[in-house]
Amino acid sequence: MSRFIERHPAWALVAILALAFLLYLVLATWPPGLEEVLGRKRVFLTALINGITLGGLYFLVASGFTLIFGLMRNVNLAHGSLYLLGGYLGYEFANLTGGWVLSLVIAFIIIAALGMVLQFTIFRWMEGQDLRQTLVTIAISIVLADLMLWRWGGDFYQVPSPSWLTGPVQLPLVTAVRSSGEAVYLQYPLVRLIIFAGAVVIGVLMWLALNRTKVGMLVRAGVDDRDMLSATGVRVQLVFLGVFAFGAGLAGFAGVVGGTFQSLQPGEDTKILLASLVVVIVGGMGSIPGAALGALIIGLAEQFGSVYMPTYAVVLTFVIMVLVLAWRPQGLLRGS
């Protein structure tokens, strides 16, 4: 961080000013002039927090995608299908057992196992043939999409959230002050906050695992230089298997999460896959911190886009992607 400030003092200043302005927008009571430009503060705050929590969901999906890509050069275009399948499975188990947390765990395990099977029976045999692997993932996504349509049809599903998670909470953020002088606080669904906190915890744990454990170091070294892995005599296949399982499992996990605060239906797989693609392209391919930054940017762009320029909300995210590609083809947080 301090190196960034040293290298780009002007950009650092802009960033600090922007952050300060954002803090002002969040904390201050808005003067009428501001409300004329940006609309009501409650709308703005809700969009902001929605964007951040949506970013949490995107991070869960995209980090698995980027990890698999970074290590194995496998552009897993079936990642969205794994997400949707995880969501459906979570729905079934939550209805069967009534345990939301349990359904998260089960979805993670089953999808991770599916990922292992795919890596073990298919991708292991085409190592280094990244295009062929990608084509296989396209075929798998088509097959899975149709199988899911067969089993669950075209209806909407929502994973029931547990009672302790339902209902809004009051955030210590003032949205407006009544004429009586009484402050109005922001009400926000607890489940989204919990899920966001969970995403942050998982992100931090992943970062620690990658940076502080021996296996993590190996994976990171493998992302930088894959030949090194085999040169050091590591059981590459085992590392690949583990990473694929973990990345796929995260997608399944995210499916339950997304199924709780959004909904599950055919087509959701493509939507989530595209979101992951854009997140990873913006953040930097193969980089976990990049996925976090990209997820935050895209989540915010989608939410603010849908509030302030509803017609072009989705397009806004792609505009961001194109700008990043033109300016830094390797993504925001990836060296060289």
């Binding site: 043939q129 295009l131 296989v136 396209i138 075929a139 798998i140 693609l277 990873v280 397009v315 083809p329």
Partner: protein, 358 residues
């Protein structure tokens, strides 16, 4: 260097059956027979066969051909080709005439077509320029993202693209007193352009530019060391491929008479990749073979599946499994299968078959 080559293996790298165009020239009697068959087909084929089977095959084949050019010769698997075609189709509807009179400008058909091809080519070239600065496999991600951006934009924009409903009643013009909407003229129109596109790709593949493009596919760093501008060659390849896709897009909108966001949605975008891969990306004839199979499946699979007692709704499953099998067992698609068979039974002395897509 060898390490890098194996790592970035885009598509059809090093050891793929080289798309040497010399061997795809119509030297074989089979190709002459095929040409004759296509020429006299209108004499006995029904309108359905002419338009719904062969017309559609030629159009999809051209779009897949533009992908084959980029993938097979340039090592860049672009998913934006269907979108370029869609863009051209939209432009024909917007600048020309359609049922949506409040948007369509009603320009003369030839002007609308030229403008459409120019704009779509620009769009394809720009998309290429955005994606070529990263290495091999990223192309597929970036172009998929661009393709879906276009899809969502057309879906959400009403002032230019007329949103969800798009444009209908986009008619083929009457020129030289011929009604090109009629089955036989339209069949020959699509056949003509498909042949032109095919010959253009075959010819260019042997030109200095085409050879240099194949050089960048095999070893981009060595090409740079030889004094070639690799990025410029790749962008130029996108421009060339975009012209083919754009022409196909004009035919596409005339073929269906309408265009809407779904025309270039994620499904059709991926279908073009499936067509090119299933047909075989090593030769320009591959995409047309793939297109014919696709069109036949699309048209008849439902009936056949139901006739043998399967659920016709599971068509996508069939496509997915079929594609999976091809990628797993014959990476060079139907062309690869045919070559293997040909070598085994007809020319045992020929060198052994090599894998295609890696």
């Amino acid at each position: 260097m060898a390490v890098e080559a194996s790592r970035t293996s885009g598509i059809l790298p090093a050891s793929a059956p080289a798309p040497t165009a010399a061997s795809s020239l119509p030297r074989y009697p089979a190709l002459w027979l095929l040409a004759l068959f296509l020429l006299i087909l209108p004499a006995f084929g029904s309108d359905f066969v002419l338009i719904q089977l062969f017309g559609w095959t030629f159009i999809l084949g051209m779009i897949a051909l533009s992908l084959m050019f980029l993938g097979g010769y340039g090592g860049m698997v672009s998913l934006v080709q269907m979108t370029v075609a869609g863009c051209a189709g939209y432009m024909v509807a917007i600048f020309g005439t359609s049922a949506v009179a409040e948007i369509s400008l009603g320009w003369p058909w030839w002007l609308a077509v030229v403008v459409a091809i120019v704009i779509a080519t620009l769009f394809g070239t720009l998309s290429g320029a955005l994606s070529v600065r990263t290495e091999g496999i990223y192309t597929i991600m970036i172009t998929l993202a661009i393709a879906s951006a276009f899809f969502y934009f057309t879906l959400q924009n009403y002032s230019i693209f007329n949103g969800f409903s798009g444009f209908n009643a986009v008619r083929v013009p009457q020129v030289f007193g011929i009604d090109w909407r009629a089955a036989v003229p339209f069949y020959y129109l699509t056949l003509f352009w498909a042949v032109i596109a095919y010959l253009a790709v075959v010819y260019v593949s042997r030109s200095p530019f085409g050879l240099a493009l194949q050089g960048t596919r095999d070893n981009a760093r060595r090409m740079e060391a030889l004094g070639f501008n690799v990025t410029a060659h790749r962008i130029a390849a996108y421009a060339f491929a975009s012209v083919i896709a754009a022409v196909a897009g004009v035919l596409l909108v005339w073929h269906g008479g309408q265009i809407s966001p779904g025309t270039a949605g994620v499904g059709p975008v991926v279908d073009i990749l499936i067509i090119a891969v299933a047909g075989g990306m090593s030769r320009p004839i591959g995409p047309f073979i793939g297109a014919l199979i696709y069109v036949l499946l699309r048209t008849f699979a439902l009936d056949v599946m139901e006739a043998v007692g399967l659920d016709g709704k599971r068509f996508q499953l069939l496509v997915g499994v079929g594609f999976l099998l091809i990628v797993l067992f014959s990476p060079d698609g139907v062309l690869g299968l045919w070559q293997r068979w040909h070598r085994r039974f007809l020319a045992p002395a020929a060198p052994p078959a090599r894998g295609g897509v890696r």
